[in-house]
Symmetry: C2
Subunit: 391 residues, 2 copies
């Protein structure tokens, strides 16, 4: 709703529109079927059915069984329940956690918090493309290691991790494996069984579902300690009356993702390649961040020398292009993104980053508009930069 119709929204990793078909299935749950799934009457029965159907749709997207899915209030909660829940339960076995250097803040800060409680955390570095080496993770395993957490793909630089190798290694050594699949789910196929995943977090909004809903896959037989307590909903792991309209919306979003992901991904990938070619081919001192091919179909991420990402975002916004300079979660701080530092960028390099995250509705015309706007913005900002000298 910014500047009328002309806005090109390419900040979908920060927040996405809800698919109209999702909103449609949610609406009746605001109006009529208000039953609490715990209620004994007919509306309660209806609510239970809706909850069960949504659970099946989420499970189907990732190759899980419905009883292995619990609903949460979003990705951050899923990551907290998975990590806190697992290590509190396993602390008699050991106190060592391994994570990659490019995890989301909800993984990073949860592990920091757990360090204060006596857990040890090893952060395994990534290469310049943002890839973590599964062998390197294996090297860090000790007899105290109880949990490995590595994201499926990074929403900031698009790099897809070799989760299958990490999963196989973890399973062999009887170490729990948690995967933050928030950026990957609905963009690339995920199979929790083939990947040997024990715990997997997904978010509804990243699948064009409503905000404030997420899910956690918990492999049968894996026990967690709850983070919050109350009425014992969601197998005691997520107390609180179920957000039925949100959950139904997330179910529909997963159903649509399963059916349409392949086409949507192909289309976004084509646009992503045009963005990457257009920027790298025509703009001086521009660089891709993240892996060239092991990359989410919707993520085009760059850095530009001599200018600040924040200024790029503001100037682009004036031209009707909405983008981001990294994770929305760190946008408020002046610190450069830990992901960009992890791939070896210096602070001043990391500050010049631009993230264009596509949605399934973005068009060729929008890409053309971005490719026409971006050079104007970058040139103007460089002209103001004391560091930049025209060559």
């Amino acid at each position: 709703m910014v500047n009328g119709l002309t806005t090109v929204y390419m900040d979908n990793a920060s927040g996405a529109s809800v698919d109209k078909r999702v909103v449609e299935v949610m609406l009746p749950y605001f109006d009529f079927s208000v039953g609490n799934p715990a209620s004994l009457h007919e509306s309660g029965v209806e609510a239970r059915k809706a909850l069960g159907a949504a659970r099946e749709s989420v499970a189907a997207l990732i190759g899980a069984e419905d009883k292995e899915i619990i609903f949460t209030s979003g990705a951050t909660e899923s990551n907290n329940i998975a990590i806190r829940g697992a290590v509190q339960r396993k602390k008699k076995k050991g106190n060592h956690i391994i994570i990659s250097a490019v995890e989301h803040m909800s993984v990073v800060n949860t592990c920091k918090d757990l360090q204060r409680e006596g857990f040890e955390v090893t952060t395994v570095p990534v290469d310049r493309d943002g890839l973590v080496d599964s062998g390197r993770i294996a090297d860090e395993v000790t007899d105290q290691t109880i949990l490995i957490s590595c994201m499926y793909a990074n929403g900031e630089i698009g790099t897809i991790q070799p989760v299958r190798y990490i999963g196989a290694m973890a399973r062999e050594r009887d170490i729990l494996f948690h995967v933050d699949a928030v950026a990957a789910a609905g963009k690339i196929p995920i199979d929790v069984v083939q990947d040997n995943i024990d715990l997997l977090s997904i978010s509804s909004n990243d699948l064009y579902g409503p905000k404030g809903v997420g899910a956690l896959y918990i492999r049968s037989g894996v026990a967690l300690r709850p983070v919050m307590t109350g009425g014992g909903q969601e197998r005691g792991l997520r107390s609180g009356s179920e957000n039925i309209s949100g959950i139904v919306g997330m179910g529909k979003a997963c159903e649509l993702a399963k059916d349409e992901m392949e086409n949507d991904a192909r289309q976004m990938e084509a646009l992503r390649e045009k963005l990457i070619d257009g920027v790298l081919g025509n703009m001086k001192h521009s660089y891709l961040t993240g892996h060239m091919t092991k990359r989410l179909p919707n993520i085009a991420s760059f850095r530009f020398s001599f200018i600040e990402g924040e200024s790029i975002i503001m100037s682009l916004s004036d031209l009707g292009v909405e983008a981001s300079t990294g994770s929305a979660c760190s946008a408020k701080t002046l610190e450069p993104s830990h992901v960009l530092i992890a791939i070896g960028l210096r602070h001043e390099e990391a500050h010049g980053s631009l993230l264009l995250s596509l949605n399934k509705w973005n068009t060729q015309a929008e890409v053309d508009h971005v490719l026409a706007s971006l050079p104007l913005v970058v040139e103007r900002l460089r002209a103001l930069s004391p560091l930049y000298q025209e060559d």
Copy 2:
């Protein structure tokens, strides 16, 4: 959507319809204004404004300042953050918590969980009307007491507690005072300043707002330790991308409650009295549970001898009346409600309970239908009961 138009829904304490005016303000946030409040571009600015406006509306309902409100995923999370956050922060000062015997499961079970971590919990009994005695709470205070948690009113039996007296006593002794106001907010006026409240939980759905959203009032100067960690949203106390559509909906629900509560309450109170008079006046072996006058305007709660509440609910549902036999959170267990046990009922008495919780749309005709249906149901069930002898 159950049995078409004829369903009379009186299970609003378990889950309420969302006001159409609330849904209306939420819809644009599904479609367009998808910005993340942390984003720098125009949509981000819009999202920040919406978040700020909603915070003001919530604050205004309870006499707080906007900076004293954080948004959560619902009542259970608000209660968890308040209690866990407070005692973890205060544990150097002491380890003693006092709660009333009629608290919600999210308070009861959180305190039980904290007992395992070394905290001591005193549960103060209530009288036969469900009233807690503030003097009795004062008697239990020790030099180790760091938190008192007492609900504003009970959603199961309607009894309104003397929070103002408890608040004054707690403030005088420098003990934090948490109030679960989920059942009371929007039904009766609340003023956190006059009541000397430090922490107050409210839920959106109980105000005819969407499910999956809640808020916690945290008095300026009161510090909490977060339960979940991540991107640091909501002053670091509730990480995770904000559920903007839900929050905007809750803001609108609070605004409507502030303007319309008085009229709505008067109307519901009249219907509640008709229900109470109709049941107690015309049905043998029926009793009111909860206080006769210190009672929420929307709660008519009873018990019937010789029959099971569960059977009443099922039979009423067949006649198009949806009600509850207690808290939805304990509906799944076979245990009788701890609230009914706390007011001195024997197990078999507690099992015969019926809760009719009204909404602002319930009508006189609906009350008439309930008063016509209930005797049929109760008589039929009693005829089947081996315990019952016609007198």
